[in-house]
């Protein structure tokens, strides 16, 4: 007996008896959204194929609703588990309605004749994915985004307790990605349908998932709630990123800092490594005014110093990743002598100073002096 609704217990999966990933230990509760992330070829699909019984398990077992997965007949399982697969299919002469209607398979009789009730459920499922207007179109003649939605409608039509999706957002544009994930979230939270899927978009995975499974190499790298998983170093290690960043705070992906010499596999994972020693630009900003400037400098591959930023300033979050050097101060404090001195030194050292717009109040009054110094040196550039 397991305390979980869906439990992968010491699972080993792979192809043709060759283990690929060993000792998978994952417990999932009903209505949770669990996402597998990890580099290409890490075995996400292998895991999904194994828990949908397309591949036989090499070791361990899967407990699904108090019963072992292997002890289900295919028929029994089909009324409880639906899948959305990556493989492209080109069914002959089938309208979208027909494709969705195949989800009724477990519920129809010997000859598979649909009742009016079945037809109604098909219509309902189409509405659930906002695809009711393409019902009579040929399935081969619709766009990728529509196709994914129709396949999801098909899965919904199967009235499962659990839906397993292999990269459902591939090929979709941003709008359709968001739409698809929103539908999944509603299903999980309103109807209590458990969702297990793989995603390439770690930023989206972080936002939709209750649990994240990091798959890498021959084992599960990490498993836990997104808040535990999404640390910067964690993601970098998972994907072996050495020329860019993942910012867990906003879930955004950043290119390497300007001036960084990109050397793949150069050894350590240290983001500061290889940075050009002498930036020629100083950016003065606050409250988000710096972000567009940082981005522009990044595009121009122009290393820069950023300052003086309070560590609770939104600019700081990006400067931290992109600037060669960030001159910081603790939130709500007066600018210290040390920070001030570093800023003045930067003004002197740099060829230009960009004033992105600094909000000056009581605690950061010394910014006035820095701006004045830059003005006096004739290095000031306003935007």
């Amino acid at each position: 007996m397991s305390q979980y609704y869906f439990h992968m217990d010491q699972l080993t999966v792979g192809y043709n008896g060759q283990p690929l990933i060993r000792d998978i230990e994952i417990g999932i509760r009903q209505g949770e959204i669990v996402t597998l992330i990890g580099p290409n070829g890490a075995g996400k699909s292998t895991i999904l194929k194994s828990i949908t019984r397309q591949l036989s398990l090499i070791g361990g077992k899967v407990q699904f609703a108090e019963k072992e997965l292997r002890s289900y007949s295919y028929k029994e399982l089909s009324s409880r588990m639906a899948v959305v697969l990556t493989e492209r299919m080109r069914p002959e002469l089938m309208t979208c309605h027909d494709v969705v209607a195949t989800g009724r398979y477990p519920y129809t009789g010997r000859l598979g004749i649909l009742s009016e009730e079945d037809e109604r459920i098909v219509d309902e499922s189409m509405r659930a994915v906002h695809a009711e207007d393409i019902g009579t179109r040929d399935f081969n003649a619709i766009s990728d985004g529509q196709r994914q939605r129709v396949l999801l409608a098909r899965a919904i039509c199967q009235e499962p307790e659990i839906i397993i999706l292999d990269e459902p957002t591939s090929f979709l544009d941003v709008r359709h990605k968001l739409e698809l994930l929103a539908i999944l979230r509603n299903m999980a939270k309103q109807k209590g349908i458990t969702v297990i899927m793989s995603l390439h978009e770690i930023d989206l995975a972080m936002k939709i998932s209750d649990k994240i499974v990091c798959v890498k190499g021959d084992h599960i790298f990490r498993y836990g709630e997104p808040e535990e998983i999404f640390e910067e170093s964690m993601i970098r290690n998972l994907y072996d990123i050495d020329n860019g960043f993942f910012d867990p705070l906003f879930g955004s992906i950043e290119l390497p800092a300007p001036g960084t010499n990109v050397r793949r596999n150069a050894g350590g994972m240290d983001g500061a490594e290889g940075k050009s020693p002498s930036p020629h630009t100083l950016v003065l900003s606050s409250c988000g005014t710096g972000i567009p400037v940082f981005r522009r400098l990044q595009r121009q591959n122009e290393p820069f110093i950023s300052g003086i930023l309070y560590t609770n300033d939104v600019d700081y979050q990006l400067a931290r990743l992109l600037a060669a050097e960030v001159i910081t101060e603790k939130p709500f404090c007066q600018i210290s002598d040390a920070a001030f001195a570093r800023a003045m030194e930067a003004v002197e050292k740099c060829e230009r100073v960009i004033d992105a717009g600094v909000e000056i109040g009581e605690s950061n009054a010394r910014m006035e002096d820095i701006l004045a110094a830059a003005e006096k040196a004739g290095k000031m550039e306003r935007i």
Binding site: T52, R53, Q54, S73, Y74, K75, E76, L77, S78, S79, M81, A82, V83, L85, E87, M89, P91, E92, L93, M94, T95, H97, D98, V99, V100, A101, T102, G103, Y105, P106, T108, R110, L111, G112, I113, L114, E116, E119, R120, V122, D123, M126, D133, I134, G135, T136, R137, D138, N140, A141, Q158
Partner: protein, 358 residues
């Protein structure tokens, strides 16, 4: 006709699934009505025409009242009627075998002839035939069917092995055509060295023909084809699931392994029966399912299976009539006629597919 499917949607024809299915049923009804009408028409035409023309009124009298001129009775009951029934049954069986193989290989140009299955059956039948004729002086229909079935399975097994090794449809078809050549070569070899009396028997048969059918042939093939057709209709639900691809079929609850075996068995029995009685017949298995799916506007097995059977029957009866009458009294091989009609349809199909991809 595929355009009309898309055309409807482009015109914004909406409404729920129920409405769509309702519209379809009308179309199915029309297609089936035409097929049935064509069936009876061609039946009458077939009985009517030949060296001796018999008017329709007398045909009906002979068939239903078993009364009339003695010679005409004999012509109809002993020659034409068995031949027509065999043509219908075997034509239907052949078309259905094609449909099953297309489902199995997920390829619309698979068929018993193209994949070399008919030739495999032919080869084993030829061997068995010569053996039996030399030993016992006669061959039973059952022995022929069993031999053809073994030959079919052998060829199918080989094709399956190839399809495991190369995952390309083109390669699969080339392999099928090659098997066809090999088996035909072996058959020719056997015929060359067979005794004269056997050759007469073998040669006519190995060319493919519906001539010389008798009522016991009709009985045996009716039994086999009838049961197989029934079983195939029972399988129409998993066949529909399988059209979505193997992985989806399994997720819908189909035991894919067992289902694949069933498909191979059914299609082999069907093509074996045809080959045993009429020899290899080309292109019916590809052309008819294609025509039926297009005219019905669906690939739904529950509709397509009976339509394919009926369509195959009509197609073969028409071809047989042409084979008999075109250069009467010389009879053409049935394959000559089926190729003439079937091959252009297949070419048309390939072009259409290519355009569909663009």
């Amino acid at each position: 006709m595929a355009q009309s499917l898309q055309g409807k949607s482009a015109g914004g024809m909406q409404g729920g699934y129920h409405a769509e299915n309702f519209r379809r049923r009308t179309r199915y009804t029309i297609v089936f009505a035409i097929l049935i009408a064509a069936f009876f028409l061609i039946c009458i035409l077939n009985i009517n025409t030949g060296n001796v023309n018999i008017p329709v009124s007398r045909i009906l009298k002979i068939i239903f009242q078993k009364a009339g001129d003695k010679d005409e009775m004999n012509i109809i009951w002993k020659i034409r009627l068995p031949r027509i029934l065999m043509g219908a049954m075997l034509g239907g069986a052949l078309a259905l075998a094609g449909f099953l193989l297309q489902t199995f290989f997920e390829n619309p140009i698979a068929g018993p002839f193209v994949l070399g299955i008919s030739s495999g059956a032919k080869m084993i039948v030829a061997i068995v035939m010569i053996f039996f004729l030399q030993r016992f002086g006669r061959v039973s229909s059952w022995a022929m069917i069993v031999a053809a079935f073994i030959g079919s399975l052998m060829a199918t097994g080989f094709i399956l092995a190839v399809s495991r090794a190369v995952n390309s449809m083109a390669a699969l078809l080339v392999a099928g055509v090659m098997i066809g050549y090999i088996c035909s070569a072996v058959t020719e070899f056997i015929i060359t060295f067979a005794e004269d009396s056997d050759i007469v028997n073998l040669h006519g048969w190995s060319q493919g023909s519906f001539s010389g059918m008798n009522w016991s042939n009709v009985g045996v093939s009716a039994l086999i084809v009838g049961i197989t057709l029934f079983l195939t209709i029972l399988l129409s639900k998993p066949i529909g699931a399988f059209q979505m691809g193997e992985a989806y079929a399994q997720s819908m609850g189909v035991n894919v392994k067992r289902f694949r075996i069933a498909l191979i068995m059914l299609s082999s029995i069907l093509s074996a029966t045809v080959t045993a009685f009429a020899g290899p017949i080309s292109f019916v298995g590809i052309a008819v399912p294609f025509l039926m799916k297009r005219s019905l506007g669906t690939a739904k097995p529950l509709v397509v299976i009976p339509a394919t059977f009926l369509g195959g029957a009509v197609f073969c009866m028409v071809c047989d009539l042409i084979a008999r009458m075109a250069f009467a009294p010389t009879e053409l091989k049935i394959s000559t006629v089926t190729s003439l009609f079937g091959a252009p349809i297949v070419i048309f199909m390939l072009i259409r597919r290519q355009q569909g991809r663009r």
